[in-house]
C-alpha cells in the first residue's frame, strides 16, 4: 500500500513539474479607437452666382432663360454616421430675399465626382428652391467627398419662367435681387 501511495505521490510531483514545463505565460492589454460622429459641409468654387435673363432680339418674342444657368459651385462634405443612424441629407433653402416674380430658381446636385470614399449621397434631382428646406442630396453615410472644387456634388442653378399661367405678367425689369441659399447637412 505504501509503495502505491509513494508511486502516486511521485507521479504527482512529476506532473507538477511537467505542467509548468510547457514554459509559456501570457498577458494582454486593450487598444481602443474612438471615432466621433462627423457632419461638416461647405461650398467650393464660386462664392457668388449671377443668373441673367436675356432680352429678346425680335419684337414679339419672350425673354430668353436658356443661358440663365450656372454650374460653378460644388458641395463638399465629410460625414461619419453612428451605427444606430441610417443616413444624412443635404437640404437647401432660400434664406434671404425671394425669387423675382414670374420666375423659379431651381438647383440640381449632380452625382458625386468620385474623388472621395465611403457611402456617398444620391442626388434628389432638380429641386425648386423656396424658403423651406428641400432635400438635394440624400442617403449620405460615412464618407468624404474630397475638398475643393471638382470634388463632391456639382450644383447646377437655373432660373426659369414659372410655368403657371399668367406668370409672365409678373416679370419686372427692376426686380434685381440678391438671394442667399443655405445648405444644411443633417440626420434623417
Amino acid at each position: 500500500m505504501k509503495r502505491k501511495l509513494f508511486a502516486l505521490a511521485a507521479l504527482g510531483v512529476v506532473f507538477a513539474f511537467n505542467a509548468n514545463a510547457q514554459d509559456d505565460a501570457d498577458d494582454n492589454h486593450t487598444v481602443a479607437i474612438s471615432i466621433p460622429e462627423v457632419a461638416i459641409l461647405d461650398l467650393e468654387g464660386s462664392t457668388s452666382v449671377s443668373l441673367a435673363v436675356e432680352a429678346p432680339t425680335e419684337a414679339g418674342e419672350a425673354v430668353d432663360f436658356s443661358n440663365a444657368k450656372d454650374s460653378s459651385v460644388w458641395i463638399n462634405y465629410s460625414s461619419i454616421v453612428g451605427a444606430s443612424e441610417t443616413s444624412r441629407t443635404v437640404a437647401a433653402k432660400i434664406s434671404n430675399n425671394s425669387v423675382p416674380g414670374g420666375m423659379l430658381l431651381k438647383v440640381t446636385a449632380q452625382s458625386d465626382a468620385g474623388n472621395g470614399d465611403g457611402t456617398m449621397g444620391s442626388s434628389a434631382g432638380q429641386v425648386t428652391l423656396t424658403s423651406s428646406d428641400q432635400t438635394v442630396v440624400s442617403g449620405i453615410g460615412s464618407c468624404y467627398t474630397g475638398d475643393g472644387a471638382n470634388n463632391g456634388h456639382n450644383l447646377t442653378y437655373s432660373l426659369e419662367l414659372d410655368p403657371t399661367a399668367g406668370s409672365y405678367a409678373n416679370i419686372d425689369f427692376d426686380d434685381d435681387v440678391t438671394l442667399t441659399i443655405t445648405y444644411t447637412i443633417s440626420n434623417n
Binding site: D24, D27, V31, S34, I35, I80, G82, G141, S142, C143
Partner: protein, 153 residues
C-alpha cells in the same frame, strides 16, 4: 503519507510561484477629433501611439535561457478596415537582451513571433501604429485585446 502530501504540495507551489512571467502595463486609446478637418477631407490615414505608452517585462525565467514572444489580437468590437502594428522602441532594462520587433509588425488574429531574447528584462516599451482609419468607418468605439505570450525555450 502526510509527508508525501506535503512534499507534493511544496513542489507544486514552488513550481507555480516561480513560473516565467510576461507583464504588460499600459493602455492605448486613439481618439480622433474633427475640429481641424475641412469639409470633404478624410482623417489622416495613419497615426501612432506614444513611444512609451505600453511596457512589457519578462521575469522569473525558469532556466534563464532563450525566450520568444508571440502576439495576436482578440477582437472585442473591431473593424477589419483598421490595421494595427506594433514595434518596440527600446531594448528594456535588466540583465537580459532582446532582438526583433524594431520595425512595425502587423498584429493579426493568429499568433506570430515578434521578439526573441535571453534573460529577464523590464520596461520594453511598445508603440502602436494604426492604418485604415477613414471617414467610412461608422462612429463608434472599437476595441481589441492585444495578447502577448512568452515562451521559454
Amino acid at each position: 503519507m502526510t509527508r508525501l502530501i506535503l512534499l507534493f504540495g511544496f513542489f507544486s507551489v514552488f513550481s507555480i510561484a516561480f513560473g516565467q512571467q510576461v507583464t504588460i502595463k499600459g493602455e492605448v486609446e486613439f481618439s480622433f477629433q474633427y475640429a481641424n478637418i475641412k469639409a470633404g477631407e478624410d482623417y489622416s490615414l495613419e497615426t501612432e501611439s506614444k513611444q512609451d505608452g505600453v511596457s512589457m517585462s519578462i521575469r522569473k525565467l525558469k532556466r534563464n535561457s532563450y525566450w520568444a514572444v508571440t502576439v495576436y489580437k482578440s477582437d472585442i468590437n473591431w473593424n477589419n478596415k483598421v490595421k494595427i502594428y506594433v514595434r518596440r522602441t527600446n531594448g528594456g532594462s535588466g540583465n537580459g537582451y532582446t532582438w526583433g520587433c524594431t520595425n512595425y509588425t502587423r498584429v493579426r488574429n493568429m499568433p506570430q513571433s515578434i521578439m526573441w531574447g535571453a534573460g529577464g528584462l523590464n520596461n520594453i516599451y511598445l508603440q502602436y501604429r494604426l492604418s485604415g482609419i477613414s471617414m467610412d468607418l461608422p462612429a463608434n468605439t472599437y476595441y481589441t485585446d492585444i495578447v502577448y505570450t512568452l515562451y521559454e525555450q
